[in-house]
């Protein structure tokens, strides 16, 4: 049970650090008042590096943060040099923690953050820019908010578009069934943005395959068991008409595979997310394709962008727009490259060049 002890110790420590930070903050606010706010300051030699996120129990966020730690270690510091601000899904806590840390560090801060929801992004960015810190955001941002409106302090924003990659997996599926017959789609929670984008990707691909019919699309809520039950009901309704299955993510795919296994059936399916287990199934040929979004790199490079802007290594305002707002990487994994992918990304985490900010990125964000 030592891991439980460690977990509790870590949480206690986090809380203690936060309390200390808050206490410091009071002093910082006073100091800031004395010298006047909004002073544009020169580059910092050793800014505090922080990641603000939901929590670490989710495998996705765990990957993001491990990337942040890898970046900090690449600077020759210990892992613990990365400050963790854990918002537990609360935008209010997210903002309060950032303000406390800004005050403690007197604005000498390189912050990587997912602001939890889009409206929260503006107050966070304004707080950081106002205190002279540097911030890079991922995922949540309103469409009217842009890094280039904040000079150097709002360094960058990265997000992932799922429509294109979902279309690619759909094409692989549609080719595998010979371009004709029926398919079904099992989606995520109907109102979730990635769920909508991934279904749209499939619909885009279908335009080029007039002989393929989308028999049904039902939300499986990202849930393996729900996907399992929906797939078996699909089998009753459509039976052998179903030639292929397009799944909104890997966990849905697992449920579909088991529903097929229960019937002794095997038909092509594609998924999304590139979880290790799914990659293994791709290597075995049980899944035709999945998409990897490299959260480890995303977490590291976001911290790196904020850090290098803070140290003055590059000047964000001199960069073009596609270096300020860009899509994260997406890697398509098929049976041909699954084994190599597994070797390169899962069995060993690659060493990234954290100053190659935009190499793996996927182009400037387009607004609809």
């Amino acid at each position: 049970m030592s891991f439980i002890k460690k977990f509790i110790e870590r949480e206690t420590l986090n809380r203690r650090n936060f309390l200390l930070a808050s206490a410091y903050g009071m002093g910082g606010v006073a100091a800031l008042g004395a010298f006047g706010p909004g002073v544009a300051r020169a580059a910092y030699s050793d800014p505090t590096i922080a990641w603000s996120y939901r929590n670490r129990t989710n495998p996705y966020w765990n990957e993001i943060v491990s990337g942040g730690e890898a970046f900090v270690e690449s600077l020759g510091k210990s892992k613990d040099a990365l400050t963790h601000l854990i918002n537990e899904g609360s935008s209010e806590k997210s903002l309060a923690d950032v303000k406390a840390l800004l005050a403690k560090t007197n604005g000498e801060l390189a912050l990587a953050i997912d602001t939890n929801d889009a409206p929260n992004c503006r107050p966070i960015v304004e707080a950081v820019a106002g205190a002279g810190g540097y911030v890079s955001t991922i995922w949540n941002k309103t469409d009217d908010l842009h890094p280039w409106d904040f000079g150097d302090n709002y360094v960058s924003h990265m997000t992932w578009s799922d429509e294109g990659p979902a279309e690619q997996t759909a094409r692989i599926l549609l080719d595998a069934i010979g371009g004709k017959g029926g398919i079904v789609h099992l989606g995520g929670i109907a109102s979730n943005n990635p769920a909508i984008e991934r279904l749209n990707g499939l619909k885009n691909a279908l335009k080029d395959y007039p002989d393929v019919e989308l028999l049904d699309a039902q939300p499986a809520d990202w849930d393996t068991q729900k996907a399992n039950q929906i797939m078996s009901s699909f089998l009753t309704r459509y039976g052998d008409e179903i030639k292929g299955v397009h799944c909104a993510n890997d966990t849905i795919g697992y449920g579909v595979l088991e529903a097929l296994r229960a019937e002794g059936m095997s038909i092509p399916i594609v998924t999304y997310d590139g979880n290790p287990q799914a990659v293994e199934l791709v290597a075995k040929g049980e899944i035709l394709a999945t998409v990897f979004t490299n959260p480890h790199w995303g977490g590291g490079i976001t911290a790196s962008l904020a850090y290098h802007a803070a140290t003055g290594a590059f000047k964000p305002s001199e960069e073009p727009h596609e270096h300020r707002e860009f899509y994260g990487p997406t890697i398509l994994i098929t049976p041909d490259d699954a084994v190599e992918f597994k070797k390169n990304y899962i069995e060993s985490v690659p060493t990234y060049d954290w100053t190659d900010f935009w190499g793996p990125a996927g182009g400037q964000i387009m607004y609809k």
């Binding site: 129990t57 495998p59 765990n62 068991q225 399992n228 699909f234 009753t236 697992y254 449920g255 287990q277």
Partner: protein, 321 residues
């Protein structure tokens, strides 16, 4: 003839009538619904839910409620998977010990649940809801959010091997249904559940140790949750924190729809079987007749209300809480 058609008889058989009407309705809408293969699919989706609903049936008969099933199922599933893989990863080795171990874990969680309710005098609603969260959190701590695959062919034969068109897990579920029926009708404990639910004060003044009955009820429920967890893992081959998801709604709904009254003392395991089948027939049937996803939840809710109206004799209760 008249004597068979009393109001009592109607209320007693209403859940079965609802089930038959539903099956006929879906079969008319889509003939493929009415096939042995589809009944096997309904059987597979019902088996884990039935185990969990049986567990909570005993609690509801006592007039209490247990909302801890999602957490308990997750803990049992994860504990089973860890033990199973650590001890060899196949039923042909000592790893079979993980099966009874899961039952012990379920009983332990149930007992703690009961102790919190009885000894700390917290209403069962709140105590079990809180314990459910504790269970989910503990399962998350154990797995760190990862999924554990249980790939042993022998264990997975619960799903993959069929006998008379139905997979083994359906027969396992029926076996445990008979055990639950035995407990309910042939043991003192079973009769005591009804005594506590029918009138706790009366049972207490007749010399019954009500607290002990409650503790045993929660422990027994925990063991049935564990069986449900094993079947759920057998169904998808994965144990994770999300294994328990959705079981609270499905099991409580099934028990009530089956005609077991939430105020206790009325109903039993056969009602629960019919209730579980009603809920799963509705879930399966709505997809099979091609109802759009966004309508399904609403329709399920309405059908549940109709089923409860038809299957419980509300005139026999003076107030509804």
């Amino acid at each position: 003839m008249r004597s068979y058609l009393t109001r009592d008889a109607l209320v007693k058989w209403a859940p079965v009538i609802v089930l038959i009407v539903l099956v006929l309705f879906f079969a008319l809408m889509e003939p493929r619904f009415f096939s042995v293969r589809n009944f096997a699919r309904i059987g597979i989706s019902s088996a884990p839910a039935l185990m969990i609903a049986l567990g909570v049936t005993f609690i509801i008969i006592m007039g209490s409620i247990d909302l801890s099933m999602e957490g308990t199922v997750s803990v049992c599933a994860v504990a089973f998977a860890f033990a199973f893989i650590a001890m060899g990863g196949t039923l042909a080795s000592y790893a079979w010990l993980a099966l009874p171990l899961a039952l012990v874990v379920g009983a332990a969680v149930g007992l703690i649940n009961g102790l919190v309710h009885v000894k700390l005098r917290i209403p069962s609603f709140m105590a079990s809801l809180a314990m459910g969260f504790v269970g989910t959190g503990f399962a998350l701590l154990l797995t760190g959010g990862d999924r554990i695959r249980v790939e042993d062919e022998l264990f997975r034969s619960l799903l993959t091997v069929r006998f008379l068109n139905f997979p083994i897990m359906v027969y396992v579920a029926l076996g445990f249904l008979l055990i639950a029926w035995f407990i309910q009708s042939r043991t003192t404990l079973g009769r005591n559940f009804y005594a506590v639910g029918g009138g706790e004060e009366l049972a207490h003044s007749s010399g019954l140790n009500v607290n002990r009955v409650r503790l045993m009820g929660f422990t027994l429920a925990g063991m049935f949750y564990a069986v449900g967890a094993l079947l759920a893992v057998g169904r998808i081959g994965i144990a994770e924190t999300a294994t328990g998801n959705n079981f609270m709604f499905v099991s409580i709904t099934s028990v009530v729809v089956g005609g077991t009254a939430l105020w206790g003392g009325i109903g039993g395991v056969w009602n629960t079987l019919v209730g579980v089948l009603i809920v799963n027939v509705i879930n399966n049937g709505m997809v099979v007749i091609g109802l759009p996803g966004y309508v399904q939840d609403g329709v399920l809710g309405i059908l549940v209300i109709i089923a409860v109206v038809l299957s419980t004799d509300r005139k026999s209760v003076t107030f509804v809480k």
